[in-house]
């Protein structure tokens, strides 16, 4: 069973936001996570993570002037871990129904409070057998979209036995999609080179 890492707190068809159960422990950028909407499992890529105050009106203040270590601050102020929270944004790239995988958007968004799991190696390998999700990933309006795409491919390559072959295949796919934008292509290729 995959590891449960958080819960959906905001959901739309193409993107959702989840809150981590552990403060400061979001899944790595570009990793594959999943959540479910009844019998549909929704797959997404972590595209952003943030830690902020639970109450948007109250910004955290600096407290460590007298402390020797950073851990000391949390020890002295145990309430802090309750006043802060870590959230992460997920870009939806596919879904599964029964045993079938689909590399396009699901019919419905996930429900709020659905659990979010980090996908295990086998699952990552299975999902990234096809690279049909790359157009969604490269076409998103996120800020550092190329960073996210490269991080995702780097992460996914670790799940494959032949890392290089996977990256070459992915690189070729990216090269076709970005044939009109060489600067972006070069940036991604430099970030994923094996």
């Amino acid at each position: 069973m995959s590891e449960k890492i958080g819960e959906v707190i905001e959901a739309s068809t193409g993107q959702f936001v989840a809150e981590c159960y552990e403060l400061h422990s979001p899944p790595p950028l570009g990793s594959l996570v999943k959540t479910s909407d009844s019998d549909v499992e929704i797959y997404g890529v972590v595209c952003n993570a943030a830690t902020e105050s639970v109450d948007p009106g109250r910004r955290p203040i600096a407290r460590g002037k007298e402390e020797a270590t950073e851990e000391g601050i949390y020890r002295q102020h145990p309430q802090l871990s309750k006043l802060l929270r870590t959230t992460f944004d997920i870009l939806v790239i596919g879904h599964a129904q029964g045993d079938e995988l689909y590399h396009y958007l699901p019919p419905h968004p996930s429900r709020v409070h659905s659990f979010v799991y980090l996908c295990e190696t086998d699952e990552v390998r299975r999902f990234t057998q096809s690279l049909d999700f790359l157009p969604i990933l490269l076409g998103t309006k996120a800020v550092a979209v190329d960073e996210i795409a490269s991080a995702c491919l780097r992460q996914a390559s670790c799940a494959h036995d032949d890392k290089r072959t996977f990256l070459v295949k992915a690189g070729k796919e990216v090269a076709v999609l970005l044939s009109g934008d060489l600067n972006r292509l070069n940036a991604i290729l430099r970030r994923i080179r094996a």
């Binding site: 290089r164 990256l167 070459v168 690189g171 070729k172 990216v174 090269a175 076709v176 044939s179 009109g180 060489l182 292509l185 070069n186 290729l189 430099r190 080179r193 094996a194």
Partner: protein, 542 residues
């Protein structure tokens, strides 16, 4: 992606083109572009039929022009591998040659000429050995193996009976392998019993052994097929020096020389046009049979002014003619009256299906060659014509097909003389009288266009003169593609063969000739082997 099926490796897909211009094929990224040599065969799997084509050009493409201006960091093998086939790609240009549709009827009929093109994105693969075999046939009683396609082991075979039905040509620069290929073809014709050959062997290369450029002795036809080849010579001494006992010594009577023969020699004898015209006057005056002998005997000192006036020949023309014809008196095979009828002798041999090599010995200048070849061929052709007409369509009574091999063909077939010589006539009238030519030449541009266009099968070795290339390819479909192929041939042993006896043009590495193994393949057994065989036969008897 690039699975090696028994059908041959996948190369790429069709992306455009036309029937006349050829098809463009985008190579898969895994296909190494450097292996795509011009002249290689590919097969395109269309929806209903299969197309055979030949690579005629290879180009490099890029999806984005910017890529060529600011190239990516290809020193990194990863980036280089990704870019190959995506951002940059190779395109091969394929000239379509044949189709083979899948239904039973067309399998029986064999490959057909192309009339359409494969659809977009049809799969293109290397032609496998089986594909080549289906197109060029296997070695059998009709097909003779002449060489292998580039980078392949399959045999390319010529349909010899079809081949001899038309006049054919072998062209190429000196030293490219014309003589070797001619020997091969002659062996093919001897082996397949498709025709009798009469070879005008200017440099004594075909009958008996000669030294190759690698200083190796290669056997002549007479040595390989002693019972099927006879060597005639004009120069007995030369034959004896080379250890050959000729079957017949040819003599030409000066009474056999006609004014037309002199006209053909105009260039080699350096005669002026009025001098040539004077020949006709002398011939009329002295009589057809005796004119040359009498003319050569005319006393230099004697006053012949009256004679010249009578014949209205200018004295300078007479001098010119005299100087020219004096060269003929140096030809020792030329006698006032030949003891035997050489033409009759040659015909006797040819009728028995024995091939005749006529060696010129030391008379390897053009005067002797043009004169003798023309005189003999004219007579032989006349006889064939008589017999063919007498046969009146009765196939059994028809004369056995004859192939006449001539070298330096442009001397007989250049536009100025091809109208008059018997060779021009044979080349043009083709096989009506069962006589065809095998012309060998290094300057095909010197041959009359009309004759060139009548040649059935052409074998072209490397040619680098633009005019020669154009003249060889004249009237061939897909000329521009073949031109690239022809100009890129290797200097030796590679030839482009196209025309009547082959379903499509092919570049071959010509079959080996000269090793003991190659002789065995031609059916030749050396003395030791024959002795062993005889001993075995004797044992079998008792």
């Amino acid at each position: 992606m690039n699975e090696a099926t028994p059908q041959g490796k996948r190369l790429g897909i069709v992306v455009g083109g036309s029937l006349t211009e050829g098809i463009n094929v985008k190579l898969d990224s895994a296909t190494p572009i450097e292996e795509m040599a011009v002249g290689r065969y590919v097969v395109i799997e269309g929806q209903k039929c299969r197309f055979f084509g030949m690579i005629s050009d290879v180009t490099l493409g890029a999806t984005n022009q910017q890529l060529t201006i600011t190239p990516p960091d290809v020193s990194d093998p990863f980036i280089a591998e990704v870019i190959a086939g995506t951002g940059t790609y190779g395109v091969i240009h394929v000239g379509l040659r044949l189709t083979l549709s899948g239904d039973a009827m067309s399998i029986l009929q064999g490959p057909q000429p192309v009339k359409t093109v494969p659809a977009h994105f049809s799969m293109v693969r290397e032609a496998s050995e089986a594909d080549i075999e289906r197109v060029f046939g296997q070695e059998d009683e009709k097909h003779f193996y002449v060489g292998t396609p580039l980078d392949m082991e399959t045999k390319v075979c010529l349909d010899i009976p079809e081949f001899v039905k038309r006049s054919n040509g072998i062209f190429g620069k000196s030293g490219t392998g014309k003589t070797f290929f001619t020997r091969l073809l002659l062996i093919g014709m001897v082996q397949k019993k498709a025709a009798a050959n009469l070879i005008f062997d200017m440099h004594n290369e075909y009958g008996w052994q000669v030294q190759s450029e690698e200083k190796r002795f290669v056997k002549g036809l007479k040595q390989l097929f002693p019972s099927k080849v006879a060597v005639f010579t004009l120069d007995e001494d030369s034959a004896r020096r080379r250890g050959l006992s000729a079957d017949y010594i040819v003599e030409i009577g000066s009474d056999e020389i006609e004014p037309e023969d002199i006209e053909l020699l105009r260039e080699t004898l350096n005669l002026t046009q009025p001098a040539v015209e004077a020949v006709y006057q002398f011939s009329r005056h002295f009589g057809e049979k005796r004119w040359l002998e009498t003319f050569l005997k005319l006393d230099e000192a004697a006053d012949i002014k009256d004679l010249l006036d009578k014949l209205s020949v200018h004295e300078s023309s007479y001098r010119n003619l005299r100087r020219g014809l004096a060269k003929l008196s140096r030809l020792h095979f030329l006698v006032p009256h030949a003891r035997e009828n050489s033409v009759q002798r040659i015909l006797e041999y040819l009728d028995r299906g024995i091939n005749v090599v006529l060696e010129f010995g030391r008379y390897d200048d053009l005067t002797a060659y043009v004169l003798v070849a023309n005189i003999l061929t004219r007579r032989i052709y006349d006889k064939y014509r008589e017999r063919k007409e007498a046969a009146r369509g009765d196939e059994k009574a028809e004369p056995y097909p004859l192939v006449i091999t001539i070298e330096e063909a442009h001397k007989f077939l250049n536009p100025a003389v091809s109208e008059q010589t018997i060779f021009g006539k044979i080349a043009r009238e083709m096989r009506k009288y069962n006589v065809t030519l095998l012309v060998i030449d290094q300057r095909p541009s010197g041959i009359d266009d009309e004759v060139m266009s009548q040649l059935g099968t052409k074998v072209a070795y490397l040619l680098d003169n633009e005019k020669d290339i154009d003249s060889v390819l004249m009237g061939t479909s897909g000329k521009s593609e073949l031109k690239t192929v022809l100009a890129k041939l290797e200097a030796r042993q590679q030839a482009l063969i196209f025309g009547h006896a082959l379903p499509m043009p092919v570049v071959v590495k010509t079959r080996e000739y000269g090793s003991a193994e190659s002789y065995r393949e031609f059916g030749f057994r050396d003395a030791a082997e024959l002795k062993r065989k005889a001993e075995e036969d004797i044992k079998g008897l008792f």
